[in-house]
Amino acid sequence: MVRFPRLAAVVPFLTALVLVGCASEDGGVQSQKLATIKARGTVVCGVDGKLTGFSFVAPDGSYSGLDVDVCKAVAAALFGDPAKVDYRDLNSSERFAALASGEVDLLSRNTTLTLSRDASGGNGLSFAPTTFYDGQGVMVPAASGIKGLKELAGKPICVESGTTTELNLADRMREINAAYTPLKFQTADQTYSAYLQGRCVAVTSDRSQLAAKRTGFPTPAAHTLLPEVLSKEPLTPATVNADPGWADAVRWTIYALMQAEELGITQANVAAKVVEAKANPNLADLRRFLGVEGDFGNQLGLPPDFVVKAITAVGNYGEVFERNVGSGSKLKLERGLNRQWKEGGLIYSPPFR
């Protein structure tokens, strides 16, 4: 019994020793995460996996979509190869835990940027630039004749648990003073099955997601979106707060895609633009952007030509949009708020200086 207190005193010391090793993994040097990813050789990217247009697994196991292209662009910027990505399908409840625990490096999963998710006192995420400006919508069967939110009073509405849509729905219905029954399901599949089975008169989610899911319904034309937009849903990739170096690398890779569209650089002409920039020392902006001169890549811990690699892999932001959710896709979504700032949209890259 005499020995016990001495041993007890050793325990915290031992624990502390082991923990020092744990802690240096995340904090300390600015881009420890970047070093880990480089050593591993792949980026682990958390995606939805079941959302046409954003991230969808094809029967052969290949991933495609707007969210997936963000992962590919980051992998290309790092390794010059868009295939160096390990995808993890995450549902909306497990996504933040997966990111916080380091199971995924990057969360590119139609996630809305909000204060509580960004704040260190909340989920503690670090958000990259918004890749899709969305809004929450409500879908009803066309035959129901429902034209507005008010007509949903007293009716059951299907919603996926663990989403911002759940909260927004509660807020809007309270504003119009309408009681309703939220039926919550853990996965999108369950939510939409319950809606299709007629348990709910409406289903609510981001308008892009509703449009995407509708393409998979037996008769897509039998369902309509209500005109009301319930909320702002800026869908944004995220990394953990604790590693600003890694967050910067992701942020500027995404900005590069946006800047490329503004400069008219496409997947098809990027090689020619590099040749042009190398030949003409007067094109200083273009030379810096494409990494022909300056050290932007080095400052981020990325290769000097990371912009060229990212664009070669997925094209500029406009190409990514049109291919996955716009005119070149089944969804046929309008650019809307997702146009370049010069055309009245919100897509705006800060200068590459």
Binding site: T15, A23, S93, F96, E166, L167, K184, A194, A242
Partner: protein, 332 residues
């Protein structure tokens, strides 16, 4: 020299019967202590690094979300703790009703294995084998999406005496105002009844009862089989009918074997109720998940969840241990 040293004194300490068990226990205790201290230290350290030290003040913040069903008055402007409490009440509701239902069905099926009616016997056997070999989650999805969501609405609803099954809910006859017995009524295409249960509750309850009853049936069958055959034969000689024999002679003896086995089945039922989220029922787990998502307070919410299920299961255990003591043979 003092008194001569006995043989015990020459035994080395590592073969000493008093020292060795003590040392082993001390070492095992130390390992547990180090592991727990490491895990707790790790948690506190990482939470501190992330600026997320345990705090409970958020429980008083308004929840901001509605609940599909609640047995206590709740609205979105009320605090998180009340939402979690409403979820807990919903969990208890399905657990208590489920325990009663599973016990009745399980006992009936377990006793049917001893029936002289061959069809009944085989049906009971088939039911047990079918149900206990399919995962509960699949069964819940089946009950909800295939059975309950396929119910018709309005005039076409399935009408049984005192009970109407519709997609909009299960309507039961009950005592309304002034203790008047009221039957479900159809007014304007919508059913009304003094007691309405949601189809989510119905699906979860059915799933839990059907699943747990299969296991209880086996426990009951084992208990009855443990009673010597001679007891049946003696009762038959005395002119007891099979049903009276079961109730008055066999069951009281079988209970001594059955009750300890029931305990773990009851506990499983309580824990399995957390699969409610598969069929959209607003149980404690479902509310906790929404709370976790909105507050980001993962550790606190999970601690609350763990604590709640632990308390529910310990309560069930305590009650069952009491029952066990009551049915055991009283020895003097």
């Amino acid at each position: 020299m003092g008194p001569s040293l006995g043989p015990a004194a020459t035994t080395p300490w590592w073969r000493n019967r008093r020292v060795v068990p003590f040392a082993v226990q001390a070492a095992a205790g130390l390992v547990v202590l180090v592991v727990v201290a490491f895990l707790l230290g790790n948690l506190v350290r990482n939470l501190t690094a992330a600026g997320l030290l345990l705090s409970w003040s958020w429980l008083d913040n308004p929840a901001g979300f509605d609940l599909a069903e609640s047995s206590i008055p709740f609205s979105a402007s009320q605090p998180y703790w009340l939402a979690l409490l409403a979820g807990l009440v919903n969990t208890l509701k399905v657990v208590v009703v489920g325990l009663v239902g599973a016990t009745l069905l399980g006992t009936a099926v377990g006793s049917a294995a001893f029936s002289s009616n061959g069809l009944l016997k085989r049906l009971a056997r088939g039911y047990v084998e079918l149900v206990r070999n399919i995962p509960l989650l699949l069964q819940l999805v089946f009950w909800y999406f295939v059975v309950f969501l396929a119910l018709p609405n309005g005039v076409n609803a399935i009408q049984l005496p005192g009970l109407v099954l519709a997609k909009s809910g299960l309507y039961l006859g009950w005592f309304g105002e002034g203790w008047q017995w009221q039957l479900p009524q159809l007014t304007g295409g919508v059913w009304h009844a003094p007691l309405r249960l949601s189809v989510e509750f119905g699906a979860l309850l059915t799933g839990l009862v059907v699943y747990t009853a299969a296991f209880i049936a086996e426990v009951v069958r084992g208990g009855i089989a443990a009673v010597p055959q001679g007891q049946w034969e003696a009762a038959r000689c005395l002119g007891f009918s099979p049903l009276v024999t079961l109730r008055r002679i066999v069951m009281p003896q079988a209970l001594r074997v059955i009750v300890p086995g029931l305990n773990s089945q009851y506990i499983s039922l309580a824990k399995n109720s957390s699969l409610a989220v598969a069929c959209g029922y607003t149980d404690l787990y479902s509310v906790a998940e929404t709370t976790l998502n909105q507050t980001g307070r993962a550790v606190e919410v999970v601690v609350l969840l763990l604590g709640s299920y632990l308390v529910i299961d310990l309560l069930i255990s305590a009650l069952m241990n009491g029952l066990n003591a009551a049915v055991q043979l009283k020895e003097r």
